[in-house]
Symmetry: C7
Subunit: 274 residues, 7 copies
């Protein structure tokens, strides 16, 4: 018996053969995974692009971005597994990547949150383009609902970009008839019944306005104000017509009270010139 025979060749050869097989298997696996992954990314983005009518430039940017990230990840995994086959501890490597990954994961968390919220905004139809909404501290007309950000045009012309994650709770003002509400004060000395009759007359005429969905009506004495008895008038109008209706109603109610000689007791001021 020589040393070599006792050295037990199989302890060396066996692993070599088995490792060879593993490496080949690994390479094959990655050669299959790489193009499939890229294809999946491409198709997903294309389909998503079509579905949400995203413009071409952006989808291409996103595609390039994701394929880049995917490639780097594959390379990292390949090296890590290769080292793993040779039984070199890759724990440290992974730990290093872990810290980075943690940091990136937290960053990505925001994006995931954006996308998840965006997805449900669309699925549950909470928001449509051209809706008038209040959400995330902004108010205006929706210009675009994206996967990451929603664009809302304020009435003063400002374009607001809101990350979807900030949208928790949406007030959509474009989902039905809107209320028109006018509060009008009369003097404490006036007869309330008479005033309410005058106002109701205006309301009855106004009810025939085509913008009205539910006639304006005098509700009654809403408040004993600091200098006037406040009467409230309420009606429902076509969507987005509420402000115009309120303005018109306000003007006609005042004219009717003036005509009837009922005082609107705004807090006048003493005006004596020096």
């Amino acid at each position: 018996m020589d040393l070599f025979n006792d050295f037990d060749i199989t302890a060396i050869v066996g692993p070599v053969v088995s490792n060879g097989l593993k490496i080949i298997l690994l390479i094959v696996a990655f050669m299959i995974a790489s193009p499939i992954g890229k294809k999946v990314i491409k198709l997903s983005i294309e389909r998503a692009g079509k579905h949400h009518q995203v413009n071409k430039g952006r989808t291409r940017t996103l595609e390039k971005l994701l394929i880049n990230a995917f490639s780097y990840t594959l390379i990292f995994l390949f090296i890590a597994m290769l080292l793993g086959i040779f039984e070199i501890e890759i724990g440290p490597l992974l730990a290093g990547a872990g810290i980075l990954g943690l940091a990136i994961g937290f960053g990505a968390q925001g994006l995931v949150s954006d996308v998840v919220t965006g997805f449900f905004l669309l699925l549950e139809k909470q928001i449509d383009v051209d809706d008038y909404v209040t959400t995330g501290g902004f108010e205006g007309i929706v210009e675009e609902v994206g996967l990451r950000t929603t664009k809302i045009r304020s009435f003063d012309g400002t374009l607001n970009f809101i990350p979807n994650r900030n949208i928790s709770g949406v007030s959509n003002h474009s989902r039905g008839n809107m209320r028109a509400l006018v509060d009008i004060g009369i003097s404490y000395e006036e007869n309330m019944d008479e005033a309410m009759k005058v106002l109701q007359n205006v309301c009855d005429e106004f009810a025939s306005d085509e913008r009205m969905k539910e006639g304006p009506d005098v509700l009654g004495v809403q408040q004993m104000g600091s200098s006037d008895v406040v009467l409230r008038i309420i009606g429902f109008t076509e969507n987005m017509e509420q402000w115009a209706v309120e303005r018109d109603l306000r003007k006609r109610l005042k004219e009717a009270l003036d005509t009837a000689g009922i005082e609107i007791p705004y807090p006048h001021q003493v005006n004596i010139t020096k």
Copy 2:
């Protein structure tokens, strides 16, 4: 003895046989798990859909979504286990998936929170459709209580979408009689007893109103105001009738005081024209 014999064939063959068995077992397991999982998803959604009267379109969307996610997860697991059998380190793979999973987990956390809260909203009957509630910063009539979002219609016509997780604490205004409260001020110079008698008379008449559940009553001197002595009147009405009752009561109390010649000392203003 030749090398081959010493090579100990079993070290190669044994694992091959055992691995073969494992792979077959694995494939069988997945072939059983796949259709069962899909079936379970389908049935769960169908039942949930029936129970909560969700419309068909949405359940189908959700179904497709979940089955997709399930399939991808199965495929990922199958590959990972296959590699595991060949003893290729899948730690890195898992780490990669872990970071993604973490990000998705955090995203999903919000959904779980929505669903859990939604579930208890329904189980504990905190909210019913058509209730008038204040919750999550919104106030109005409940239009729909979903698993993820609750829809509340504000009185001005706005439709509010509230993720259930935002609902912590519900004020339900539709669970019993509501209070009608009127504060009315009289002049510091007036006799308080007399004024309270006049007001109580109105209250006693008003108590026969069918909307009243617990007669309005004069409580007494609530406050020594800046220009008046404030008297408080309280009663309980049928649900949702409180505002109308308050308006009517306010009007009749003022008329009674006017008739009795008791001054309501609102801060008049000096009006001298230029």
Copy 3:
């Protein structure tokens, strides 16, 4: 020696026997754990239900819920352990469950927090049904203290549902005599000693009121106000009688000052009609 003999049958048979034993042990363990677990759940809920007087319907719902969850968990564990015996890597499986579990764990965290708080609310007797409390942003009479939610009826009739986790710090207004406090202003020109004597006389008479626990007393000059010298009167009353006492006291103090001819200098206003 033939190959088979060298193949060392024990390498195959041994594990088979040992695995068989493990599987049997596993099945036995689960057959014991399953009914015991279900029994424990049932009894726990029944006892909890009796202890906190929860109505039957709800306990049954909860029971069904928990037993369902328990069964699914057992099945998951059984499959996982079975695979473990055959040495199939179940790490991936667990990772998948881990992400889900994490999400559910976070959701459950809220419930645990509710139950723990609820438990201490009851143990430390911070809240009883019919107490008048302020907590979690709500104020009113406690209608029910549950394990998950507490119901508080506001004075305006609203029923508020508060998740127990939101209750951090309870102001209980039903644990002893309550203070009645009246601030009354006299003119800067009046004699303070005389006014205080008049007010103290009223207080002395009032002290015999059976609702008073600690006679009302004039404390002295609380503030040099913008138009009056403010005198403070304080007393302690039976619980929940404080508001009525304050109202009565306020009325009688004003009447006494009027009788004594001491001016209450509210900021009068110039009233000149046009």
Copy 4:
């Protein structure tokens, strides 16, 4: 040689013997740990109870609670270790317990936080019973400092329960002499030196009051107010006497100014009756 001999009995017997030893060791360990643990819990609670004068009922409740929790934990550990000896993967079991444990751990975190804070409140003598403190948004007299909650009685009679974790920063008003501060305004037209002399005279007389620790003194012109020149008087009094001193001082200062004919120019109002 028969198959059985080759089967190598030791591969079976060895583990059996070794496992048997392990099991016995395990049972012994638990039989020792169980009564010791229970004893430790009992004694700890008893001692804690004595130290903080907790009443008997509550300590017994707590004891039963903790011993229950301890027993369940022991049983869980015993089963887990037993399975571990038979090399059945208990990872899944642990994972399940981990999720529950996580949830409970988070719940317990609040309690730990309560106890730690409570411990330091007592150790550092930040709060004593009968102290007048402001903390955690509440103000009043301390009635009890517990390990989990502190009870504070507001001046209006309300009893507040504050979880110790909410107590971050304590304002203790019972740790030394308190300041009495009176601001008094004189007319812009008055002589400031004269007014300050009058006020200082009152202060000098007042300094002999036994409640005063550091005589009241006129500091000077604190502010050019909207209608008056504000003079500030400051002194230090015995603890809890500050309010009474301020009220007395205020009265005597006003009387002195009235006597000296110095105007306190409060914003009078035009009073013309209709």
Copy 5:
């Protein structure tokens, strides 16, 4: 047979050979990784520098910083792996590094968040240099959009540095025509129709101003103010011209009302000299 022979030399030699191979492999791996990593860092920064027009000095600083960090990490990994080959437990080492890494990871998290947000700010073109924006609590003209910070020049001359992570939601005022809005009040006694005609005449003339994109128009009675009836005029102007237009419009509307003899009832004051 001597002891040495039985000692089985291969148990020592085998590992030595295999470890030698591992070490060589490791050194080669690091010798490849080091220059590649440095190259990648250099190129990435150069490209990023060019793309975002960052000045040279800063890129060089960043480059040096990153290469330093990279080198230290490599050295740490090399030592860790070397120890790993000699089977010395490096767990403790890693744990030490882990705590540090955790701390650094949390620190880095903020940077990642900055960079991710900055990246999307640029990709989605939410912000351009010279835009007038409101974001993160600051308002002004954008001077620079960096990867970590954005610089905004306030209108008062202040330069604000905002970490990108603070930018959640951008209001961009430079993305379209802006609204010019003028509210003008007329006396309650004036004829509203006449006043609106006068104002509309001014608007019609003003519409020809080249800065106007959508003619100013009188909307109607916006509010019944405390001393005036408020009429609202709205128009849209070229971007950034809105303030100048509002100022001009305001002046011309007032002049027109003055000419027409319509009163603007500002709250005059009584002016009687002493």
Copy 6:
């Protein structure tokens, strides 16, 4: 050959010997670690106590506390390692301790945060005893800077206990000369140059006051107020003398304006008695 011989005694004896050695090593390790640890704790606390002049009673309490905690931890570790030597899975035990540890860790986190902040407060000399500071929502004179809490005496006599962790940002008012600022208003009708000359004269005289570090000077017209033109005077004084200087300056400036016959136009009020 009998069964026993084949049983291979070494498989039992070897571990026994090796385990025996391990146990002895373990016991020795703990017998060394225990007294050293206690000594370290004692010395550390003694030295810390001396360095920060903590009184004896407290250090002894802390010492006893820490040594207790240390002993319990050692015992726990010893048992855990002993079980580990016998290869009994201690994972479950650790998991149990982990949950507890997590809870305690979170609790301890606050203490660590307190100590770290306290350490830097002292190291960076942000706060000294007797400094006048504003921090953590409290304002007053520092009475003690501890490792866990800082005590601040408010000017009204209250003693505030602030956990150091709440101290983020310190405003120290005792680190240099302080500004004295007086705003004084003159009538719109007065000559501004003349008034500023009068005021500057007072300032020039005042500059010789020994409390002044940088003479008071008239800056100019600070504001066009609602009823006066506001002039601002600024100077720098010795620390803590700023309020006295402001009061004196205010008085002398008013007297000078009175002498020069320049009106201070406070908003007088109409005083017509009924």
Copy 7:
């Protein structure tokens, strides 16, 4: 064959030799790591000290602190690894250290956050000593930018210490010309064109002031105020001269209006003496 021979001496001797080698390697590693680590710490601090001009005392304190921490860590690692070589489970030890480490890690997190922010404050030159900045709720002149804290001197003389982590967003008022803005109101009755001409004349004269960078100009009618028509004047001045310029401009504009006889309609008050 005796038992001893069968006992296989190598099973004992082999490990002893291998462990001996490991221990020697370990000791060598630590003997190299210790002085290198200390040297690195010393040099790093020295260099950092020079770079940021930190005074000697502080660097030495920091050095001692870090070397202490480093030594303790080394000792801990050495012991842990030694035990590791003897295959004594050090998991429990690590777990213990882990809980402590976690607590310390969280504490350290704040420091890391401070240092990272401080580093970028300096790198990006957001803040320089002597800059006038607003950040973290404080406003004043920067006195020192440290790695952990930034010192800002308020204008009233207070020295503020701000942990760098609290600095998120810096408003630097020392980076360019500053705006001087004066709003001046004229009576509703005055001719606006004439008034603007008068004001523009003053501005044109003022433009020659050397402190002005961009001449003051009359912008137009900024607002229809409650009692005046507000005209706005804007200019840009040298840094830090904006307040002096505003004061001078304000005075000269008022004088010009007075000269031209244009009324500034401040809300006069009725002054009728009693």
